[in-house]
Subunit: 415 residues, 2 copies
Amino acid sequence: MDRLTATYLVETPLPVARAAEVLAGEQSSGTFVAVPGETAELKQRFAARVEKITALESVATPSVPTGRAPAASYHRAEIVVSWSIGNFGWNLPTLVSTVQGNLYELAQFSGLRLLDLDFPRSFTEKFRGPQFGIAGCRRLTGVEGRPLIGTIIKPSIGLSPAQTAAMVRELVEAGIDFLKDDELMADPPHSPLAERVAAVMAVINAHAQRTGKKAMYAFNVSDELDAMQRHCDAIVAAGGTGAMLSINSVGLAAAKKICDRGQLAIHGHRNGWGMMNRHPLLGIAFPAYQKLWRLAGVDQLHVNGIANKFWEPDDSVVASIASCLAAEPLGKPVLPVISSGQWGGQAPETWRRTRTVDLLYQAGGGIQAHPDGAGAGVRALRQWWEAAVVGLTLEQAAAKYPELAKSAEKFGSNK
Amino acid sequence: MDRLTATYLVETPLPVARAAEVLAGEQSSGTFVAVPGETAELKQRFAARVEKITALESVATPSVPTGRAPAASYHRAEIVVSWSIGNFGWNLPTLVSTVQGNLYELAQFSGLRLLDLDFPRSFTEKFRGPQFGIAGCRRLTGVEGRPLIGTIIKPSIGLSPAQTAAMVRELVEAGIDFLKDDELMADPPHSPLAERVAAVMAVINAHAQRTGKKAMYAFNVSDELDAMQRHCDAIVAAGGTGAMLSINSVGLAAAKKICDRGQLAIHGHRNGWGMMNRHPLLGIAFPAYQKLWRLAGVDQLHVNGIANKFWEPDDSVVASIASCLAAEPLGKPVLPVISSGQWGGQAPETWRRTRTVDLLYQAGGGIQAHPDGAGAGVRALRQWWEAAVVGLTLEQAAAKYPELAKSAEKFGSNK
């Protein structure tokens, strides 16, 4: 059987090779003493295998508690471990339990982070992955040759369906490509999702009828499973093209079930991500995370943005974008969603560092708080990207584009 | 509307009150500038509210990176924040996005951990919670007045359905109350779940027919959603009483859908937990975690065990047990699953520290690697608990119980 390969960054007070064997053992036989049924033949076929160890630096203090007496030093290393795909079949949750699972609790490690996964084709071929992906999202929104410009309806929570639809009207008339609910706004009593879908899609459909341009609205369908199915039905019935999932909150199995419907482009919001990523020696790095969600079928995935309002450094954002745009697995890249404190002013640096326009570039306040209104906010974002790709200086761009100039005045000092 | 209350442990370079306002703001309006629609009335109704701040120590270095220049010191505090339940309705995934979500990414914090949640009754009354819970699991297994004795089939992965059934036969004949698959063993090609269910339930049913005692086997149904439904159907059809979910890998929405079936006691395996809990200033503490999964309907939940093979200190295990046994929410405690490196020798200390027998006490190798076989292993575990509750010394217990004595000889030195 072909093998799945996982790469970890680890830290351990033990000799690294011994710690790696503990990791492999926990995720194969999984008990603290040899048991009668554990034959050499079984071990050979089902045991995890340590494929490679690359020693890194040692440190004096453990990154996370071990529950054991202090050691003289803690050794860091990158280790590669493999499993036969016959151990889990085409079962994504059990694959996750295999490559993550109990590993994070092992006392033999003072740090453990899953960096990347490498799937054999005989595994991935059973997964469709993103039904729409970058090409499909471009087709649905009619945008070519530049980033999709998107916004989040703000304030995050509290607007009625009619108020939401009124904001959507202004934004689609300004030519926006993409809109979405905030992750705090799902199906609350003051804005039931079905009513919001009806009100918003009436506006979007009327505009599309008139102009031929249909904006994608990713309604936040995150909910219990049956409710998510109902929400998606309502969107499809109303002619909508997108839905948003808070992927960590909803979870892998239910999210895949929604993606499997294949009718709506799925906007993957990764809120909760910091919990499993923010400590550099714990959790999961974005390349591995992105691959799991790509297999589940998410079409768009959040990556923060340059100079974001969160803690994430630009280098990490740039690496995440590259990871979404990589062909493998499945030959189906995911559309990176640039978000968090964005207003257009980050477009030049985003372009400089990524040289791609295959992005969904989102601004919430950065569009809707534009001094001349949301319409001007949308125009400003497009202008920022035109100027960035052409390579205009801020002075040249400001002279050419009035909305861009006004946004620079307001948000440039605000940042 | 009634309010949901969340308690956090935070660390911040800012004055704590200001950081708390940032947290509340992110989870209400959620943008970096005031937006036109954000009226005072909206804020009043939907804004998160900082209810209480309890200052703790300050430290010189940040617990997790902030992506910002170093500060002179970082202040720790416990803060209590509340939201109107009208913000999310009875939508558990969106509640999670509200109380966890983007918070972990805020640059204003160098540590953030959700400690506890307090739900108003008007929220919890829409949830059934555990269908079986402690009383139901006792009824299904016919065990009163002592812990349920359980085991995990080992080796974790590789046995065929027939081999598994053969091990189950020996264990049920020895009077075991509960058995389960390992989390690595789900529905692989070498042991399709439907075949394993048929083979195992034939043994369990025959034994029940003969003796009146029916052991619960928690088959690992963790999988994609439709597959989980099929797996549960197969278990129910074969007369099984339990199913296991790797709750973190499967995720909240799909797990709740499986719990909602209400036909099988659900064994909640928390593999992956270390990722979100091991760093003391990041993630989620067990009381909050346990409440979310109790609302989802899990009947049994892993808590590690005293002197476990993982990193978790005993104090933390004891606190988790208390958390599962607390009446609220729902007046339905969850059965704590004691596991990880257990062999019976930890029973006296477990009893001394918890004074409860409302436990599912699991040993894998600790039963199956008993020198006289798995049957002796089961008897030894029961003996350890009898001796612990009566208060025998090790000498007294070993003199009275031969299987206990042999297990102490083998595992006592092994530990």
